[in-house]
């Protein structure tokens, strides 16, 4: 800032040289006004540049946090939640196949537990020191071995043909459904809220920077109009350069701000679709499947048809307009996403129909056929219908996650060079103001 320093030195020396001369720099006089305007505008430019550069860097890092840390924590928590629900549905289904569990069920249960524990550990690391989240993760971590212990006792007893196995299974499932899953749901809701708050922060920053820029532009305009009236000279090169730099900076911010913000908005749509719609849909579907199995396993007590209906209502209702899948349809913007959600809605209908057949068989006393209709994977059954629903949901989740990554990448890409650009342009603006006004001030000596 050599010119502004020079201006200040000039001011000082004039004050030292003579009191009479200093009077000419009073606010009432033109040079006085010019000097004040010079100082104010240089400060505004530097402030705007500083704030802008800081904000741009902050914005970039917020988006990185959203796309990196928060989203991966969110994804981990959703995966954890899903793995837990899947483990429970799988354990219950395993009981229906009698004493010896089929390989695919045993493998799926093991895979779910590996996934659950891995994601618990990852979420725990990513949560850092965040107290509430850490405590919930600790709660789930403490309960999970109790759950698996109960399931193992259930399996061991079942394999020996001891009816007490069913009690262990129901007890394990109650622990999962009434205690562990609600904890995971709370964890997931909290992550989604934090993600949403980050989106809000990212949006408000653009508005603040543009407000400072607007103030600078107004000041510059006033100064140039003032000079034109006093000196009748249209062009002050310093001020013109300052104005151009400021307008350029603001245009950059508007364009980047709006494009980045719109990418961010669509990214937010995708992440809300994941956390508020497709995630809950996966859980509800798995819980419904667990109820279906438990209805056949634990006959004298345990969940019943209203429990199943409640889960399905959460998943989908009113021909796909309501429930989690209805919400997913609202969130999804692109054609492919829409058709994936529609496929899931159709699959949910298919599963509901397959379940009704299971119930019909069981209610008419054909227990063995009912079990077969629930677990047989070699012919159309509730098992195959559920697998179709599960795959459809997984495909929709994968699509939304990819779309999210793409949009967050765009939002971040647009910000490239913005921090340094804002700083440089602000410096140019400040220099332009200082030099431009200094020229005029010198004419008053």
């Amino acid at each position: 800032m050599p010119s502004s320093l020079q201006a200040i030195q000039t001011q000082r020396s004039s004050r030292v040289q003579s009191g009479r001369r200093w009077r000419r720099y009073d606010w009432d006089t033109t040079p006085g006004k010019l000097m004040v305007a010079q100082i104010v505008l240089v400060l505004v430019a530097l402030l705007g540049g500083g704030v802008g550069a800081y904000a741009a860097a902050g914005q970039a890092s917020t988006i990185q946090v959203i796309g990196g840390h928060l989203e991966s924590l969110n994804a981990d928590v959703i995966t954890l939640y899903r793995s837990l629900a899947d483990a429970d549905a799988t354990a219950a289904a395993g009981f229906l196949s009698g004493g010896v569990e089929p390989d695919e069920i045993r493998i799926r249960y093991t895979r779910d537990l590996v996934s659950a524990t891995t994601n618990l550990a990852r979420a725990s690391t990513e949560a850092g020191g965040e107290l509430v989240t850490t405590r919930r993760i600790a709660d789930i971590t403490a309960q999970l071995p109790v759950y698996t212990g109960l399931v193992e006792r259930a399996r061991a007893n079942n394999r020996q043909g001891r009816p007490v196995g069913v009690s262990y299974l129901r007890h394990a499932s109650d622990l999962m459904q009434d205690s562990i899953l609600p904890e995971a749901a709370e964890l997931q809701r909290r992550q989604a809220a934090q993600l949403d708050a980050a989106y809000q922060r990212a949006r408000s920053v653009v508005v603040a920077v543009l407000a400072i820029g607007g103030m600078g532009l107004a000041g510059l305009t006033w100064l140039q109009v003032f000079l034109f009236h006093r000196t009748q000279r249209v062009l002050n090169i310093g001020l013109a350069v300052a104005t151009a730099a400021l307008i350029f900076a603001m245009a950059w911010w508007v364009i980047v701000g709006s494009t980045s913000a719109s990418s961010l908005a669509t990214a937010r749509g995708h992440s809300r679709s994941l956390s508020d719609a497709l995630g809950p849909a996966q859980i509800a579907a798995l819980q419904a499947r667990a109820v279906e199995s438990l209805e056949l396993v634990t006959r004298d007590a345990g969940p019943t048809e209203p429990d199943f209906d409640a889960r399905m209502q959460i998943l989908e209702r009113d021909k796909g307009t309501g429930g989690a899948l209805g919400a997913a349809r609202q969130f999804t913007t692109d054609q492919q996403g829409k058709s994936l959600v529609q496929a899931a809605i159709d699959a949910a209908g298919g599963y509901a129909a397959a379940h009704r057949e299971v119930r019909r068989l069981d209610d008419t006393g054909d227990y063995i056929k009912a079990v077969n209709a629930a677990i047989n994977t070699r012919q159309p059954s509730a098992a195959t219908a559920f697998d179709r629903l599960d795959s459809a949901l997984t495909a929709a989740v994968a699509h939304e996650r990819a779309a999210f990554q793409r949009d967050i990448g765009h939002a971040e890409g647009w910000l490239t060079g913005l921090p340094i650009g804002t700083g440089s342009l602000a410096f140019v603006t400040a220099t332009g103001v200082a030099v431009g006004v200094q020229r005029r001030l010198e004419e008053y000596r």
Partner: protein, 333 residues
């Protein structure tokens, strides 16, 4: 009561009843189960006053002395041949439908449970199949429906089943709601404990916790015990074995027949003490089908005569000791 028990209570919706101090501890309920809240007041009434579904409600005290609780309707004449049920009878209606609908528990080995091939088996199941044979000439014409353990007579009252064969004890309270056949087995309530626990009878259970199924007569007996143990109610009898294995209760108390089934599942447990009660098991039948009651009583008489009752005992209940004499039927007209 430690934190783990609280967790279990929540998860299983188990009712803990502290008869001694009178403080009830029904823990949080889950959406799919109803928590029975027996109060010590109802608990200390005569044992028969609490029947399934009566939790919290007060029925008028039935007058049980004026009639013999165990007397059932006398069979009329010889049994009709299978497939030739008297026109207009309840049996004819069942025959026309093509199958007998029987409410059972699937969780009360050796009386009723599903084997490894998912087929219902047990002492109760044999009776149901023999009734099917008497109506259709075919033991397999039975549709088994699980009945909720907390209220085994519910499907009968709502006409979803023809009969309930589910180790149901004849009580005064239940007799007001349904008809009973003649008793087919006489059980008695005893206590199951871990080996080496030192508990020998109800008196040893002061300050200890005892588990029984909610809505069962066993729970009432525990609540009325002078030693005032902490009664824990679970959704099913078998849940009590789990609670004992998990160390959450000190003892299980229910009918010796069911305890024998539990002891068979866990050799570290044993049945101790004298019979605390007499539990005559009978088939529950709708009140407006006296013809079916008489028919079933005739079927029971024949089962005893042709040795099928004893064969069934040998198959399922041998562990309880040599076969006793079948309960002597008592009739009214």
């Amino acid at each position: 009561m430690n934190a783990r028990l609280a967790l279990l209570c929540g998860a299983l919706s188990i009712v803990v009843l502290a008869a001694a101090s009178g403080d009830e501890r029904p823990d949080r309920s889950t959406a799919n189960s109803v928590i029975g809240t027996l109060t010590p007041a109802t608990a200390t009434q005569p044992a028969a006053s609490t029947s399934p579904g009566s939790t919290g409600q007060h029925f008028g005290q039935p007058d049980c002395n004026s009639q013999n609780l165990l007397a059932s309707l006398r069979p009329q004449g010889p049994l009709p041949a299978p497939g030739q049920m008297p026109a207009g009878s309840t049996m004819a209606r069942i025959a026309q439908r093509g199958h007998l609908i029987v409410g059972i528990l699937e969780d009360t080995a050796p009386f009723a449970f599903r084997d490894a091939n998912l087929q219902p088996q047990g002492f109760d199941i044999d009776i149901a199949r023999d009734i099917s044979a008497a109506i259709f000439g075919d033991r397999e014409r039975v549709v088994f429906r699980p009945t909720p353990e907390v209220d085994r007579l519910e499907p009968l009252r709502s006409d979803e089943v023809d009969i309930v064969v589910a180790a149901v004890t004849i009580t005064c309270q239940r007799r007001q709601q349904v008809d009973f056949s003649t008793p087919y087995y006489e059980a008695g309530q005893r206590i199951l404990v871990n080996r080496g626990s030192g508990i020998r009878d109800l008196a040893d259970l002061r300050g200890k916790s005892v588990c029984a199924a909610r809505g069962s007569t066993s729970l009432t007996t525990i609540l009325a015990a002078p030693s005032k143990p902490l009664a824990v109610g679970t959704p099913t009898e078998t849940d009590c074995l789990m609670m004992l294995q998990l160390g959450e209760v000190d003892a299980v108390s229910t009918d010796d027949t069911l305890l024998a089934g539990m002891a068979a599942q866990d050799r570290q447990t044993e049945v101790v003490g004298p019979r605390l009660t007499s539990e005559p098991y009978a088939i529950a039948i709708n009140k407006d089908s006296p013809d079916l009651v008489r028919f079933i009583n005739a079927v029971q008489q024949r089962r005893v005569q042709d040795g099928r009752w004893e064969a069934s005992y040998q198959r399922w209940l041998r562990k309880l000791g040599p076969p006793p004499a079948p309960p002597t039927p008592q009739y009214q007209d």
